[in-house]
Amino acid sequence: MSLEILLFIVFSLISVISAILMITRSNAVISALYLILNFAGLAGLYLLLNAQFIAVTQVIVYAGAIMVLFLFVIMLLKPEHEKKFLEAKPKLKIFAVAIAAIIFLQLIYLLFFSKPSESLSPEMTKSIDSGTIEAIGKQLYTNYLLPFEAAGFLLLAATVGALILAKKKIE
């Protein structure tokens, strides 16, 4: 068995087990911890695919920034209220199950019935360097400049919106 396959098994086991543990824990903080572990496992899988930049941004953005925010919200809002909320309105559970079923069916469709994307040029998928920061930067600033700038503008608008919502009203 080569080193790559061994690492693949380790990282995918980490991702799958932590994902299962994340949805089965009753304590929201522990769930969040398993989600962080899941992100770490995914970052390892990206590394094995030679996508170093995506692996590191996975850790910086998801594990480092978004999950910190999640943890804050969980710690400050005390998730015990959520349980009472669900017990008072049992119909919400049916709604949640329906949404989960739809997403699951979508995933099954993607896995078994859809063709792999053909938008990538064959040279790019072959190249080992396609995951490096230089290759991604070049693509972002030439072929995908408009979507990139649009996403940036959207984020700016969201930031301004958040500022206005949080601002104290001064008469």
Binding site: V29, V59, A63, M75, I133
Partner: protein, 342 residues
Amino acid sequence: MSLIEILIITLIKILIILTLTLLTVSYLVYFERKISAWAQNRLGPNRVGWEGILQPFADVFKLLLKEDIVPNKANKVIHSLAPMVALFVAFTTYAVIPIGPNVQIFGYDISLVVADINIGILYVLALTSLGVYAITFAGWSSGSKYSLLGGIRSSAQMISYEISMGFSIAGVLLLSESLRPIAIVESQAGWMWNAVVQPIGFITFFVSAFAETNRLPFDLPEAEPELVGGFHTEYSSMKFAGFFLAEYANMIIASALITTLYLGGWQIPYIEKLGLADWLVTVFQVGSFFIKVGMLLFFFIWIRWSIPRFRYDQLMNIGWKVMFPLSLINLVWVAVLIMIFN
């Protein structure tokens, strides 16, 4: 080189770096106490060994022999996980910091860095962004309001100053055109040190480094008068020592990063013109790296015993209204420089 050889060489490097850091950390604590004593006109530790030189070992044995107390309300697993995360983050960051140029030993061409990866700076940023967890976990799992307050304060502080830190680093990356720490050092040949070329970025990075390591004047997470001990109030024995170790290891990381990014790393300007033997040049260069780091560490301690702590609103104002715009100005400055001289 075969895989086994690479593994052995890497293991040796890791061992050397680890021992070096642990030794430096223990003596950093000693120097912190000595320098604070000089600053306050006291003698400082002077009982264990000559001038108290064995004091760090006495401290470690004392902490090892203390009882490990876990509060009743604490979440036991996360409570012991927190100091481990702090130590993990502190020590794994050293992997990408180069302490010298490539050397030839027994016919092998060895680079003086544990892992020479081409996204080294991003790796450092990723690990430091994980450092927030150690403090948040410690604050939350202790089940004490002082710990929770300290943890939340610290996280807000670290997130705020990470932004100006990132923008300062962007200035360095524009000039070096690489994320590899070795390439960044080599781009600062001669007197082209980034501290000289982009002084504003140097200052913003320096101040953010103080905030990221939770050192005075930014040590609000453990502000003794208001929060007892902040996020590590409920920690004792070796778990407390873990946080203590991590704080000093982070100081060394910050100094080594400042040296690599802004002070030319291991480089001594124009040393190649002196006509010294190759091995002597390498020795001097590695020495210069350690001297630069040592001076920065002294500066960290000096600042701690000279300047009082900021108030919380002042801290946030400085972070968002002073440091952030300054680091943006620096980025524009570097871009203009590149426009003119290219």
